[in-house]
Subunit: 152 residues, 4 copies
């Protein structure tokens, strides 16, 4: 990627306490924990925006709101080790909203250092089914307002 | 257990965000997540008391302070399902300190409801070795001050 | 526990590959992985006995057979570290069947050494509900045949 | 990707039992489990090729052989849901070996259906350090023999 992705002024932040149990014998967070942390951050993004805080997220979306957002792809670059020495601060924002898909960018920082960055693409579906659908109108509106743009 | 265990006035509290990924198809946190949550809470207890906050815990203990506390036993009772609807508030306090062992009590509440409770026993060891040892004097002092007593 | 629990002649065995990602910086399987391994072994026990092998287990029980077995308690003793050096062989058998509950014993061995042992108690429920029920008659019959007895 | 990647005739296969605890409330394996499964498969690939079977893998590599292979990137496409209905068969092979890096391809199939596919890039390091190095000569030889080529 030759140019840095556009970034919102104040992206959603989700803080994670990295613990002993997240680490492997190399004394850093095990690689498979990093996509798991990024997913937690996206879940928390939805909780913040859809649920009015606590109790929202994918669980609320699927059980109460009747739609889901299964993943179709992810890619991550690992820049620096993650350890329990500092909180992991994940920033999350939507980069692209298609007819029935959404792409998030997630960055993980510790102590100001970029540890990992990634893109995650979901499709919108009806809860409990596999066919894609368009997102609810209010979700489209919400997400469109959060995608950073050149003009902004 | 016929009588409730003694409880400190203000035990250490550790708050956990339960997410979609913690839940199983029965729509509640998967059973194996609950001891993992309790262990996170004990790790956070040590972080709070040994590390002056962030960056402490078992990682700091083992890598910087030169001792470890491997588990020799745990027992848990599950009282109510844990879900993403509310934060999981874990309270942690030491119940007993032996010559080279320590027993913690952990309780997990959501929205004021007791979801699980358990006892967890560790032994003190030198970092990277298996033989037990006595805890450092300042750790003994710290823990003794945190064990609730009848006389208190 | 002063006397060893009764043991069937040929208990169900479930083999687990312990990997790098299961280990913590002390270079042994992280404690919270051990109850998770034991639960995998119980799930595999049900798969073996209910599903005719692959595809059964709790998933089959809950989605196809209409009952579930949520946990009400567990207790584990940790006897020796678990590492990736050997496969972890878990043996599982029912110890007690009550009116609406079942208690399993799980033992984990590596290279012939007992690494952990535990008891796990479940209650029978209708799928998706919390009230307890009696197990289906054929499940009762199956389990009764697997509980080791003095007379055996 | 417009053309299918070259595939060896008989790539290394690693079979995973997907259980209830791997699944989320949508009744499919939780997305974060899929990169974890792929990593288990790569760990098992090394175990098979370096350790003469059991007991090898990243643990053996780091603790006994003195080198490590931290991840610098991964990308995955999710093609079909993973469930406990069938074993997950992961195939793993090296696609590219650079001066100090290696790229693996991992595919996960259930019942003959491609569920996910991904690329994973590691760098070679000295155990416990971060600077990259060239792989040991015998590892280079081994991997070169396993990379599928047009001419094959």
């Amino acid at each position: 990627m030759s140019t840095a992705p556009l970034q919102p002024d104040a992206p959603f932040r989700h803080e994670i306490r990295v613990g002993w149990g997240d680490c492997d014998p190399a004394r850093i967070a095990y690689t498979a924990r990093l996509p798991a942390f990024a997913l937690d951050a996206i879940d928390a993004f939805w909780e913040h925006h859809l649920g009015g805080g606590q109790g929202g997220g994918w669980y609320h979306m699927e059980l109460d709101l009747g739609f889901g957002t299964p993943f179709v792809g992810m890619s991550l670059d690992f820049r620096a080790p993650v350890t329990p020495r500092h909180r992991l601060v994940c920033t999350v924002w939507p980069q692209r909203l298609g007819r029935s898909s959404i792409t998030f960018r997630v960055e993980g920082h510790q102590d100001g250092i970029l540890c990992f960055e990634g893109q995650f693409t979901n499709v919108f579906t009806h809860a409990g089914r596999l066919e894609t659908r368009e997102p609810p109108a209010e979700v489209r509106r919400l997400i469109e307002g959060l995608i950073p743009s050149d003009a902004a």
